[in-house]
Amino acid sequence: MAQVYEHPIFPFTAPPELLEERVGNAPVCVVGAGPVGLAIAIDLALRGVQVVLVDDDETVSHGSRLICISKRTLEIFDRLGASAGFAEKGVVWNKGRLFFGEDEVYSFDLLKEDGHQWPAFVNIQQYYAEDFLVRAAERLPNLNIRWKSAVVGVEPSSDHVRLTMETPEGRYDLDADYVVACDGASSFVRRTLGLDFEGRTFQDRFLITDVTMQAEFPSERWFWFEPPFHEGQSALLHKQPDSVWRIDLQLDQSADPEVEGREENVRPRIERMLGVDAAFEIDWISLYTFRCQRLQRFTEGRIFFAGDSAHQVSPFGARGGNGGVQDADNLAWKLAAVINGDAPDALLASYDVERIPASDENILNSSRSTDFMTPKSQAVRDIRDAVLALAYDHGFARRMVNSGRLSVPAVLDGSPLNTPDVGQFDGPIRPGAAALDAPVATSDGMGWLLHQFSGDFTVLLYLGDAHDVLPDDWPHALPAMVNPLVIAPILGPGVIGDPEGNVRVRYDLMPGTVYLIRPDQHVAARTRAFSNIWLKGALARALGNVGDNA
């Protein structure tokens, strides 16, 4: 039988500001305990920062919402100590099928390379994702979560931001050195600052439902263009845990959201898809239009925007939630380094520099997917349908079919934090790219490469299998915030092995090659010729010391 998730109630407790009738202080206040707010709050707390996380609700999200958790997001949650539930509960899928009318046009496999801890995607309802993150957050003594606490006032000043909170027991003020607004698409913080989005709104409406049923569909992403059960439109089917299925149906522009959102009108649409005899229950209905837009800047003084408060995309690429978690991943270590006195304020400017291009990439991809699904004229529809028709027989047309270009980690090309390569390198893990996982040998048995990286910077040295001699200039003591990791045949503390050669191939390693990995596991620099000067220069640059040319 289907399990049904029971929403926990997180109780409000009166904070000291209310009890003592005073203005509070916090180095960081994160607004909004969705996946992005939770991720950044946990990350900051793990880096020793005192964090207050406020949310106007007292439970996790309703409805499946983000559902597709990407490999990169899973790796980030893993680093945050919140991944176990995803591995246990999530529905793993790598395969997608695409239908046009009644026929399958083609299928694709997202990840068929062995040697990664996490699959390409795990499907799970957003309420589970938030639940797992809340549990991880609750373990951190320096992370103070305040439920039923709505921000109703935002007053920025030069050295702090005053937030006014409304709670069941009254209002109080909190002065935060920094604020991270993760309060969603209709962000109160954003509106209070009078910031507008720039971008496009699509007119087409989509009906999104969670349906509980016993069904035999495999764990695959099924997408239909113009299916017989939903004429002239598109449809998407995804499996989730607890026998819950996510069904997205495109409606036309004239659809009345109030009427179409009623269960008595949704039910016949689902019956046409699943058959009139199908036994199912509708758990959640949502109707919305797509927006592909972002703020001009994600940073306003001491206030940072992350996730939907900063940018929105259409959902057919799983780029919203996964993009937002990458924002959190990018900002947390920088903010912690500045607060902890390890980096100059200038490092914070790199959040916009790195995440705005990433957001634009998500917006571009999701806009194109939405355009493909919703042709704006008969002539454009003709071209779209021609692509689908040719896709049966021709690979070039299959590559044009766009039912969503699925989220991949942003490569931070052109970031001022990157150091240009010293020497020739091949392979995708260039400076700015997120590190790729691989199986490694440790003195405790087989493990994963990403688990060997420290929470700070990691300097990864490859010695190959012939030598265990460190480079001449290898320092006796590494700079603060840098931890060494050596790949060599004889394992020990800080020394791992690469028995299958996966690390060597994925990182194009030769004996003596060194990578500098950032705290968010993106590559900062790599060299074929290690020197202390190179390391100091690359580290200074990655910490935002502008003008430092190594």
């Binding site: 008969q378 003709d382 071209i383 349908d385 021609a386 028709a389 040719l390 021709h394 070039f396 047309a397």
Partner: protein, 71 residues
């Protein structure tokens, strides 16, 4: 620099035109529209060069816009 060839390079212009006309023989309007769209895609892939395609599209579009009656 122009990448699109617009010089006359057809040895048999009447045959080329006829080939396009013949392709539509006996098709309903909707089928003909699909034929045109599929033909564009096949030729676009054959050309393969995005710059050439963009130039051709811009040229065709400008030509269509020139035909617009003045307001």
């Amino acid at each position: 620099m122009s990448a699109l060839v617009t010089d006359d390079q057809t040895a048999a212009p009447d045959d080329l035109y006829q080939a396009l006309v013949d392709a539509h023989e006996g098709l309903a309007d909707a089928e003909s529209r699909q034929l045109n769209a599929r033909l564009i895609l096949l030729l676009a892939n054959h050309v393969g060069d995005l710059a050439v395609l963009q130039e051709a599209a811009a040229l065709a579009r400008a030509s269509v816009l020139r035909d617009r009656p003045d307001d």
